[in-house]
């Protein structure tokens, strides 16, 4: 009698566990515990954790904050659309708008300095994907996420959108610069 038949022994739960099964369960369970404790451990000692800071917001309120930052700290413009490049002071609050189909404005950060990066979407959901570092965050309309970022390399980075947001999804790319001062 096999797995497609009722168990032959009425008291099947009394059958002793084979050594091969018992050993494997013990090893697998230990590994599961290690994987579980890895996450709290990284919160304590690791340097890459998502903050728990987030607020409800509106597109108007968030874009006003971004506009204020752009007015104060724009250093130049890029492309024929004159997209502002903003160099905010180290340690400050930095705002990045996700909308159909652009990231706005272009940010210029300093290597080794920390910034409080605020992210929100104006319309649909978008996906913040920093390349080639490959850091990925979900950006949701109505929510403002705050993450403290510390660039550890200088150079030109790109932010691509990796949450489907309509026909122009693939055009939603922006630059991000990290400079060494």
């Amino acid at each position: 009698m096999s797995s497609i038949h009722p168990p032959t022994a009425r008291l099947w739960w009394k059958q002793p566990i084979d050594r091969v099964e018992g050993t494997w369960i013990a090893i697998a369970f230990l590994w599961c515990l290690i994987m579980f404790f890895m996450m709290p451990y990284w919160h304590i000692t690791g340097k890459q954790n998502l903050s728990n800071e987030a607020y409800r917001t509106t597109p108007e309120a968030f874009s006003k904050k971004a506009q204020d930052m752009v007015d104060k700290h724009t250093v130049r413009t890029e492309t024929d659309q004159n997209i502002p490049v903003v160099h905010p002071p180290a340690g400050s609050d930095v705002y990045l708008i996700a909308r159909l189909w652009a990231w706005w404005p272009v940010l210029e950060l300093e290597q080794g300095k920390s910034y409080r990066l605020h992210l929100s979407a104006m319309d649909y959901m978008h996906g913040f994907s920093l390349q080639p570092a490959n850091i990925n965050l979900q950006v949701i309309p109505g929510y403002e996420m705050v993450v403290t970022v510390t660039p550890n390399q200088s150079g030109k980075f790109s932010i691509i959108c990796n949450e489907y947001c309509g026909i122009g999804h693939h055009k939603m790319v922006s630059n991000l610069y990290v400079v060494n001062k």
Binding site: M1, S2, S3, H5, P6, P7, W12, W13, P16, I17, D18, R19, V20, E21, T23, W24, A28, W31, M35, F36, M38, G46, K47, Q48, N49, S51, T79, D123, Y124, M125, G127, L130, A133, N134, I135, N136, L137, Q138, I140, G142, E144, M145, T148, V149, P151, N152, Q153, S158, I160, C161, N162, E163, Y164, G166, I167, H169, H170, K171, V173, N175
Partner: protein, 568 residues
């Protein structure tokens, strides 16, 4: 009660089919395969668009086709087939009549109407919102309506299954406990009820929103509840295809569970903890605490992962024990070498099991680890993972089962047996490569659900490294190979069912004959089998290889994470 009902006993297997149940199984399985065919054609179009040098479809058609592919494969093909599996695991394995066949036909009709409605909405071109249909992007109301009808139908199907269990118990068609495979099907059906309820909770308001009765749907709430439907529906698949693996081990080898207690407890862990996995999808979202994420995405300390690791050992272990009892005892692996590799029922199941564990299982844990998710979220690594679980795991397991069902349920000889023999290898290994190269490209940051990795027309395009282009070309090539393998399955099944040589139906009676269970009083282990007290030493060695791969890959990902920007 059962006066005008007939029961057929298959002369080849001794399995007994209730005529109503038999018709329903055939109808559900055939419609499932039709959606697989549709989804497969769409898969080819997507593969050829993702292949950078081919880039077949324009952007609008690509997103339309991607939406249809997701729903036709993940929802319609799999759930139609699963309903057939549920009826098989209840009515056939317990040798009883199916509860309320008319309700089961109603379920079938609702599912079919729903699936067609949603497909029509998608192909009309105004519902390219992806399978997930995240608000506030809006589809045509009939898109949501079709999904709701389908879900109601599937729910009725689950209750027909539960009703059939009650009938079997009441009419005493078996003694003691239900078979392990039926127990696995019960697990799938319980998870299905929870899943479909979550789907209703979110899709009904979304439908009302699309017709203007509700003003807004909170997008974060939508994601949390939608994934209780979206991910859990994949857990139905896991429970169902593991039940199918056990069934195939029993059918091909006469394998019995190494220990009923261990295997059933593992299924029970699925019921308790598997649904928590839906939290995996919101790890990179704002507004949800780390404590919540850590608890839920670890399925409460990985207890559901533990369950899968147990099944991953006990199924090949049961096969090994059965083979050793037949005398294949030489060394560690004679049992596996002498397995019937030319029988697609076995080869499909074994390729499914290994691929699900090594590719789908390990990658799933990576994505589901709170911090590691940051370097994976929404990259093409994600579809790489779930093609390993759902296509290699579920679809290939169901394909393998089909080769058993064609003679037994459809009473036809398999046509093109040579092609059938090669089909699981072509499809399975095509998908192995496909899943691997997708994960590789995702590691390089290539996004999912994205029409053009060269960012055509963008003001500030990003240039992916050449290796990412190479990997995406391999995605296209392996997709074509897998689609050919899938096409071979469709060719074999459809031509066998309609044109294959008819086989003897067997004895027909008007009342069911109960399961005969020889009750053994003594409970025994596996005694003298195996090596050093290990009844299945070869399987244990394979499990250790799996563990080493798992541990190494896990810490490689942490190493990779530790090198990215500081985030806090």
């Amino acid at each position: 009660m059962a006066n005008n009902e007939t029961f057929r006993t298959c002369p080849r297997t001794g399995l007994q089919f209730h005529d109503s149940a038999e018709m329903l199984m055939k109808a559900n399985a055939v419609v499932g395969v039709v959606f697989l065919l549709l989804g497969g054609v769409l898969a080819l179009l997507i593969g050829l668009t993702k292949w950078p040098d081919v880039h077949l479809l324009p952007a609008d058609s690509f997103y339309l086709v991607l939406t249809a592919h997701g729903l036709d494969m993940l929802v319609f093909w799999i759930i139609f087939f699963e309903i057939a599996v549920l009826y098989f695991c209840s009515s056939t394995l317990l040798r009883c009549r199916l509860a309320t066949p008319r309700m089961a036909w109603l379920a079938f009709a609702l599912m079919l109407i729903g699936a067609v409605t949603t497909n029509v909405a998608i192909f009309q071109g105004n519902s390219s919102v992806m399978m997930t249909s995240y608000v506030p992007m809006q589809a045509h109301p009939s898109f949501y309506l079709g999904l709701i009808l389908f879900a109601v139908g599937a729910l009725i199907g689950c209750f027909v299954f539960f009703g059939t269990l009650v009938i079997a118990k009441a009419e005493k068609t078996y003694q003691g406990s239900v078979p392990l495979v039926t127990f696995g099907a019960v697990t799938a059906a319980i998870i299905a009820v929870f899943t479909i309820a979550s789907g209703a909770i979110i899709l009904i308001p979304t439908f009302l929103w699309s017709v203007g009765y509700i003003k807004t749907i909170d997008p974060l709430m939508y994601r949390v509840i939608w994934w209780a439907f979206g991910h859990s529906s994949q857990q139905i698949n896991v429970a169902a295809h593991i039940a199918v693996w056990y069934a195939i081990a029993a059918i091909v080898f006469g394998a019995k569970p190494m220990s009923e207690r261990v295997s059933r407890t593992a299924f029970l862990l699925y019921i308790f903890f598997l649904q928590l996995a839906s939290a995996h999808h919101i790890l990179a979202d704002p507004g949800i605490s780390s404590e919540w994420k850590v608890f839920n995405t670890s399925y409460a300390m990985y207890l559901a992962v533990l369950a899968s690791m147990i099944h991953g050992l006990t199924i090949p272990g049961a096969i090994e024990v059965a083979q050793r009892e037949k005398g294949f005892t030489k060394g560690l692996f004679e049992w596996l070498r002498k397995a019937p590799w030319g029988n697609p029922v076995f080869s499909g199941m074994f390729i499914s099991l290994i691929g699900f564990g090594f590719l789908g299982g390990i990658s799933g844990v990576m994505m589901g680890t709170e911090q590691l998710n940051l370097i994976i979220h929404n990259t093409i690594y994600v579809p790489g993972h779930f093609h390993a679980t759902v296509v290699i795991g579920t679809t290939l397991a169901f394909m393998a089962l089909t080769y058993f069902l064609i003679p037994v349920l459809f009473r036809r000889e398999i046509m093109f047996p040579g092609l059938a023999k090669w089909q699981p290898y072509l499809f399975g290994f095509g998908m192995y490569v496909f899943a691997l190269v997708m994960m590789g490209a995702g590691t390089l940051g290539v996004p999912r659900r994205h029409w053009d990795m060269s960012f055509l027309g963008a003001a500030m395009p990003y240039e992916f490294p050449g290796s990412a282009y190479l990997l995406m070309s391999l995605v296209g090539i392996s997709a074509v190979v897998a689609v050919i393998g899938g096409g071979a399955y469709i060719l074999v099944t459809v031509s066998s069912i309609f044109l294959g040589k008819k086989l003897d139906a067997g004895v027909i009676s008007n009342k069911p004959t109960p399961v005969v269970t020889p009750v053994s009083a003594a409970i025994s282990g596996h005694g003298s089998l195996g090596i050093a007290g290990f009844a299945a030493p070869g399987t244990f060695v394979l499990a250790m290889v799996f563990l080493v791969a798992f541990v190494l890959y896990y810490f490689i990902n942490w190493k990779y994470l530790s090198q990215v920007w500081g985030l806090s």
